[in-house]
Every structure is written in C-alpha cells, then in structure tokens.
C-alpha cells in the first residue's frame, strides 16, 4: 500500500514540475487530467477497508477532475488561435527554480508540524509535502501565467493539492473533503469557465493583460 502511495506521490510531483516547465496549453490540460486520476485513486489507497462509498467517491472525483474539466478546457481552447502560453511573467526556467524553492518550503513547513496522528498516514513523510507542493505549484501558475485558461488550470492544481491534504489529514471525513473540494471546483472552474466564454466574446482573446482596466496606478482606464 505504502509503495503505491509513494508512486502516486512521485507522479504528483512530476506532473507539478511538468506544469511549471511547459508552455503548451494542450500539455497543461493533459497533465491536469493525469493529476485528476492520481488524486482520484488516493481514497482507495488511503482507506484500509474498501467500502463502496470510497469507490464511489474515487470514481466521482476521477470523472470530474480528469474527464469533465479537461473536456471543458479543451472545448474552450478550441476557439483559440494561439495555444501557447506566451511570455509568462516569469520564464519557464525561473518557474522551475521557483518550483524547487516551493519544494523546500513545503518540506520546511511539514517538518515543523507535529504528527497529524490520524490513521498513521502522516507518518508517511511524503504526503504532506506533496500536497503543499501541489498547492504552491497552483499558486505559482496563477501568479506567473498570462492566459485565463492557464490560471484556471493553476487553480485546479491548487485544489488537487488541497484535496490531497484533506485526504491525508482528515481521512475519516472523506465525504466532507469531497464535498468541499467539489463545490470549490464547481464554483471555481465552472463559473470561471463561463466567464472565460464571456471574456473571449468581449476581448477576442483571453490574455488577462486585457483584464487590467480597473486599477489605481498608471494611465486612465
């Protein structure tokens, strides 16, 4: 069981790094879908007994995270001419360096938290850093990328991290975690998806550079 968990976590790390280092929107969506699967199987690995409820939760998560949202993203992107994330605020190399720093920060923070004690999972020293790293990756994407779609994907990654953390920290109340994260995702991604449609209609492209009219600095809007 633990070795499976290890593998999942390593994959999670790798997908995060992949997201930080890539520039194609298509790659983003695919990596996000992969993450969805990884995150989705987690309840199966965490729970000691394989209840039907757990399986249902896992299936639902995978369905939403790795099928529904990637499909939604892909649909949105169909209209784009340019499917690259051009000129992010920080280059890909810098993003990767930031990613490494984020790993450090995640380890530093988890080191300082006493054992969670729930179900002995936290004894697995890798889970918490992986969850935090996913969250940080999502935040880095949100901060450094220009396109609205990428940002939504960043948000998705962050939510994945939170989901993992939830699984690790409060495995008993899986349902609560599920509910929370799904609602959050629904609000975030679904509504943001709608908005990206509108943004596309209003601006012809979805660089959030265009979404900087409301400000108190620089020239008149």
């Amino acid at each position: 069981m633990t070795s499976w968990l290890d593998i999942v976590m390593v994959l999670l790390f790798l997908t995060d790094l992949g997201l930080l280092g890539s520039s194609r929107l298509g790659v983003y969506v695919r990596l996000a879908a992969v993450q969805g699967v990884l995150v989705g199987v987690l309840p199966l690995l965490v729970q000691h007994t394989l209840a039907l409820e757990t399986v249902a939760v896992a299936a639902g998560t995978i369905a939403v995270k790795s099928v529904l949202f990637p499909w939604l993203m892909a649909r949105i992107m169909r209209g784009f001419d340019d499917r690259r994330e051009r000129q992010p605020y920080l280059g890909y190399t810098v993003s990767l360096v930031l990613g490494v720093l984020a790993v450090g920060a995640a380890l530093w923070i988890s080191r300082r938290l006493p054992e969670s004690g729930a179900g002995g999972l936290a004894a697995h020293g890798f889970l918490m850093p992986a969850a935090l790293f996913s969250i940080f990756t999502g935040l880095i994407l949100l901060v450094t990328r220009r396109k609205a779609v990428t940002q939504v994907l960043g948000y998705l990654v962050m939510e994945n991290g939170i989901y993992v953390a939830g699984m690790v920290l409060v495995p008993e109340s899986t349902f609560l975690v599920e509910l929370g994260v799904l609602l959050d995702l629904f609000v975030g991604v679904f509504l943001m998806g709608i908005m990206i449609f509108h943004i596309q209609r209003e601006f012809d492209h979805i660089d959030t550079d265009q979404l900087a009219a409301l400000k108190d600095w620089g020239g008149e809007p």
Binding site: L139, R146, D209, D216, W217
Partner: protein
C-alpha cells in the same frame, strides 16, 4: 443651572424650527433669531448670577454608559466666566444676523443657517459645562461641525469652500490630539468622569504629564488659533457671514483657552518648560499674527489675524502664569491668570464689535477690500464711532478695556522679573514682545479706521454707503459701551475673579484674596487714570471750544501742501500705509508684489499689487501635505490591475505568516 438647561432646550428648539420652516426663509429667520436671542438672554442672566454667586452645580443623565459616557453637566465659576461672553455675543449675533442674512434671502438657504447657528451656541454651552470627557469630545465636534456649515453657508463661492475644508481638516487633526489626551487620561485614571481626573492625575510621572500637556496645547491651540496651528483661522473667519465671524472669533476660539484651563489645571504643578512653551507660542502668535493682520487688505482677514494675535496674548499670559507656578511665585501666577481671563472677556467684546462693524460695512459697500473704502465715518457716523472705540480698545489703549488685561499681564511679568532671575529672559521676552505687539496693533488699527472710515471714499460704492439699520448698529453700540465700562471698571472685576482664581490655582479663597490684596492699589489707580484721561479730554475740549467761540472758523479743501487737484485716489491706501512695516519684516512675511508699468515716455497706467499669504500654510503645511501625498501616491502601484500580482500578495502574506508562526520550530 436650570437657567442653562432652559437655554439649552430653547436653543435646540430654535435650531430645529428654522429647519422645519426652511421653505419660508423669512419665518425661519425670525424663529432662529428670536429663539436664539431669547435663549441667550436666559443663559446670560443665569450665568451672570452663577458667576456672581460662585455657584457650583451639576446634573447628570445616563448616556451611552457602556462606553463610559454620561450626559453630565457641571457649572462652576470657570464655566460661568466663559459662558457670560458666549451668551452675550451669541445673543447679539442672533439679533444682528437676522438683518445681515436678510440680504441673502431667496439666494441662499436661511433655515439651515439658523439651525446651525443655534446648534453652535447650544454645543458651546455643553462644551463649557461638560464634565464627562466623552460628552466633551462629542460637543466639541458638534461645535466644529456647526461652525463648519456656517462657514460654508455660501458655498457657491470657491473661497468659502476652500476655507471650510481647511477648517474641517485642521479641526479634525486638532481633535485627534484631544482624543489622544482623553484616551491617555482614561488610561491613567480609569474613568471618563472629569471630576475624578485631578485626583487621579496626581501620581503620574512628570514625563507623561508633559506628554499630556503637549497634546492639550496642540489640540486646543488649533482651535484657539495659536501660531503655527492657526492656518485655518484667517480663511474660515472671513468666509463666514459676519455674525458668525463675530461668534467664531469672539467666543468659539475661546473654548480652546477654556479647554487649556479646564484640563491644564488637572495636571498639577507644571514644569518650567510648559510655561516656556506657551510663552514661545504666545509670542509667535502675537507678533506674527499682528504683522500678518497689518499686511492684509481684506478687512475681515485682518480681523481674523488679529484674533491670532489676541489669542497669542492669552497664551502669553497663561505661559507667564505657568512659569510663575513652576517657580513658586503665587502672586505672579494669579495676576497672569487674571490677565488671561480678562483678556478673554475683553477680546470677546471688542472683536465681535469689530466683526459686526465690518459686516455692516460689507453690506453697505459690497466690498471687504480696505483699499476700496474710505470716508465712511461721515456716511455712517454712529457705526463709525463704535468702530473707533473698538479699534482703540483692541490696541490696548487706556481708558478702554483692552488695556486692563494687558496691564495685568505686564504687572505680572514685571513682578516676576523683579522677584526671580531664573526665568528672567522668558519674562523679559514676554514684556518686549507684548510692547512690540502693542505698537504694531496700534499701526494695524489706525490703518483700519483711517483707511476705511476717514478721508474720502475711494470708490463710488463707498461714497454711496448710508448708515445701516438699527439691528446692525445696536449690537455695535452696546459692545462699544461695554468696552468703555470694562475699561473703567475692569480693575474691580479682578477682585470678583478671586473665587475663579482660587479654583484654578487650587489655593483656598482666603489665600487668593490675601495675595491679591496688595494689587488693589495699582488697579484702582488704573481706574483713576482712566477717569483722569476722560476728565482731561473734557477739559481740553471745553477749553478749545471756548477759544474758538466767536472766531472765524471756515471750511476748505484739504491743503495738501498746496497741491491743486487732490483726488480721492491720491490718498494713502491701506497697502501703502502698511508698506514700511511690511517691508521691514518682508523676509518673514514673504509678501509678494507684482508691478505692471506701462511702457513709453508718457505711461498711461501702472499697477502694483501686493499680497501676503500665510507663510506657515505655504511654507510648512502645504509642503508637508504634498510630501505625504506624493509619498503615499507612490504606493499606488500596489493596485496595478493585474490579478497575478494580487494573488502574489496573498501568497506572500500566507508564506510570511506561516514562517512567522512556525519560526520557533516544531
């Protein structure tokens, strides 16, 4: 006390009714004016009775008690003393205001104006009697707000708007210091009940008391118009309607002095530097105040700057009193305190007189520019007489009331100088500064009278002026009579101040009376001198009259060294009259002059424009505000419109807090 409450209720009614009748300005004006005057009459009678009988009384009602508030009013000689001029000037102002505002009927809203006028009076009653610090703060701010709305009564004029804003901002910053004082006071004493403060302050270290004192000087000094906190005053007082200017300059700024006395005496024995600070502030205020007054062309601005000067004299007197208390010179302290109190009363009388007069001139000539006036004494002889008396009184000339206060102050300073050398330089500076101020004030007010009232009218408007209606004239006449009466009888008033002085100094009444006893001689002599001067004037006038009787007395044009065609425009103007003195202090005043000299061999026209703006405002406050504004504006890049940066702020905050929380280790 019950008289005061009746007056308070009447005033609140008289402020609500005009607002209700705002659609009928004439009715609103009548309601506001009569109501205000009646309330002030009741209040005046009751506060004179309270002062004469040294009544102390208090009433309290529960009010926002969880916050520490209470609607508690207390009447003691100090309150009563400040209430008397307040009621007098506000009552006369209510009568005068109705005539004054009649000119604006139909153009401006009179209902709100009367509402705020009576609210201002009502709030001053509460300010002067509040014995709960929170109630004091609230009434203090209501007073500020009411006067702010009165200043911006004619807010179509940019000048009024600017003045109002400046006033509100200055008052707010001043109040912030008072809030600090009250909060520190509450911290040290654990209560907002002011009656318990004096005892509770006793055990506090001197450094903290000094801090409290500085808060007081800044907070109340802003209202009183101490230099360099006076910047709002020369803008706001002229912008207001004249009866409001009279109330603001005559009595409202005195609430600052009241506050200093009320709270300052709670702090116990002062350190020497407290007095030194007040003397310095007072000297700066009186010398600069009067110099700026001298440089103004606007008659009401001149009067406003003169208020700065007079508040400076009061500050000087308070400073001398503090110095004397620090050096254990009880008689000197008493005399200086008495000087401050008398000057407060006197200034209320003559400054409101002058503002009433200036307002009447404005209504008659439609200008406040001194250089456009002239020859008004012939056209409005009765008003003019009142103004000349006021000018002589404010120049502190015997036998008028201004002199009595200054005499006491000199007396105190000289006595202090003769009995102790430690603070000699401070006291000598006070004497010299006061003498210089006296000379400059004489210059300032001969200029006012000489240019506005005497000579020939400089403009057709001034030539067309006529004696104003009774409502304009009577307040001036009454106040002029008071100037003379207080000047002659003022010395006797000092004896009546004994209970108040005992309250302020903390000494028992018998001791105060004992200390004051040796001073009755000189004070009586002052009265005698005043009477002697009056008698001599009558005798010399009678002699002159006798000499001229039956002789050839003719009228002709002004000789003017034989110059053939004197015109009114050849007269000395206010600007040229003040030029030598302004020129002497030009480095301090920073007057600006603009010439326009027509070219050619036979130039047809030329012009010269001299203007003196407020140095403190232009050189200190404006740059400071601009600096703060620029520095803060620089931070506006924070809101750059980019959502990525916004999320970055969240991340940084989160990481920072996590680091801060976990820094200690697991």
């Amino acid at each position: 006390m019950s008289g005061l409450l009746v007056s308070l209720i009447l005033l609140l009614t008289a402020s609500a009714l005009p607002l209700a009748a705002w659609r009928r300005p004439a009715l609103a004006s009548r309601l506001g004016s009569w109501g205000g005057a009646a309330a002030c009459g009741v209040g005046l009678a009751s506060s004179i009775a309270a002062f004469a009988g040294s009544v102390t009384a208090s009433r309290a009602w529960p009010w926002v008690t969880p916050v520490g508030g209470a609607f508690s009013l207390a009447l003691d000689p100090l309150s009563a003393f400040f209430l008397i001029p307040m009621f007098l000037v506000c009552g006369l102002g209510a009568v005068y205001g109705r005539a004054y505002l009649a000119g604006d009927e139909g153009r401006l809203a009179l209902g709100p104006s009367w509402c705020f006028y009576n609210l201002l009076t009502a709030s001053m009653i509460v300010v002067l009697t509040a014995s709960n610090a929170l109630l004091f703060l609230v009434s203090w701010e209501v007073m500020t707000l009411a006067s702010f709305f009165l200043v911006t009564y004619d807010h179509d004029r940019a000048e009024s708007r600017l003045a109002g804003r400046l006033y509100l901002i200055a008052a707010h910053i001043g109040t912030a210091f008072l809030v600090v004082f009250v909060l520190l006071g509450r911290r040290y004493t654990g209560t907002l009940d002011m009656s318990q403060w004096p005892a509770a302050f006793a055990g506090i270290p001197a450094a903290r008391l000094g801090l409290l004192f500085v808060c007081l000087v800044i907070g109340f000094g802003t209202k009183a118009g101490f230099m360099p906190l006076h910047v709002w005053l020369p803008e706001a007082h002229p912008a207001a309607p004249s009866h409001v200017s009279a109330v603001m300059s005559g009595v409202m700024i005195k609430t600052g002095i009241y506050g200093l006395l009320r709270f300052g005496t709670m702090l116990g024995t002062p350190a020497l530097w407290w007095g030194g600070l007040l003397v310095a502030v007072g000297l700066a205020s009186c010398v600069f105040g009067i110099l700026f007054a001298l440089a103004q062309q606007d008659i009401k601005r001149q009067l406003a700057y003169s208020s700065v000067e007079n508040m400076g004299i009061v500050a000087l007197a308070l400073g001398v009193a503090l110095v004397a208390r620090a050096l254990q010179l009880p008689t000197v302290a008493l005399l200086a305190l008495a000087a401050a109190l008398l000057h407060v009363l006197n200034h209320a009388v003559f400054k409101s007189l002058l503002f009433f007069g200036a307002g009447a001139i404005y209504r008659a000539t439609h200008t406040r520019n001194l250089d456009a006036l002239g020859g008004l004494l012939k056209r409005m002889p009765r008003l003019g007489l009142g103004l000349i008396v006021g000018a002589a009184a404010i120049s502190a000339l015997p036998p008028f009331n201004g002199f009595v206060g200054e005499f006491l102050l000199y007396r105190a300073a000289v006595l202090g100088l003769n009995s102790d050398a430690d603070a000699g330089m401070i006291l000598l500076a006070a004497i010299g500064g006061l003498a210089l101020t006296g000379g400059l004030a004489a210059a300032c007010f001969t200029r006012l009278v000489g240019v506005a009232l005497l000579g020939e009218p400089r403009t057709p408007e001034a030539a067309a002026a006529v004696e104003p209606a009774g409502a304009f004239r009577w307040p001036v006449t009454i106040l002029a009579a008071l100037c003379l009466a207080l000047g002659v009888l003022g010395p006797f008033l000092v004896v009546r101040l004994a209970p108040l002085l005992s309250l302020l100094s903390g000494d028992p009444l018998a001791k105060v009376s004992g200390l004051l006893a040796p001073e009755t001689g000189p004070l009586t002599a002052v009265t005698l001198m005043a009477l002697l001067v009056l008698a001599l004037v009558v005798i010399v006038a009678w002699a002159r009259h006798g000499l001229l009787r039956g002789r050839d007395v003719r009228e002709a044009g002004t000789w003017d060294c034989g110059y053939a065609r004197p015109t009114a425009r050849m007269q000395y103007t206010a600007t040229s009259f003040a030029q030598p003195l302004v020129g002497l202090f030009v480095r301090l005043l920073r007057s600006r002059r603009r010439y326009a000299i027509a070219p050619g061999l036979f130039p047809a026209s030329a012009s010269l424009n001299a203007e003196t703006r407020d140095v403190v405002r232009e050189r200190v406050f404006t740059p400071v505000f601009q600096f703060v504004d620029r520095w803060l504006s620089f931070l506006k890049w924070l809101q750059s419109g980019r959502v990525q940066l916004y999320i970055l702020y969240i991340v940084i905050t989160l990481l920072g807090l996590l680091f801060w929380t976990l820094r200690g280790g697991a």
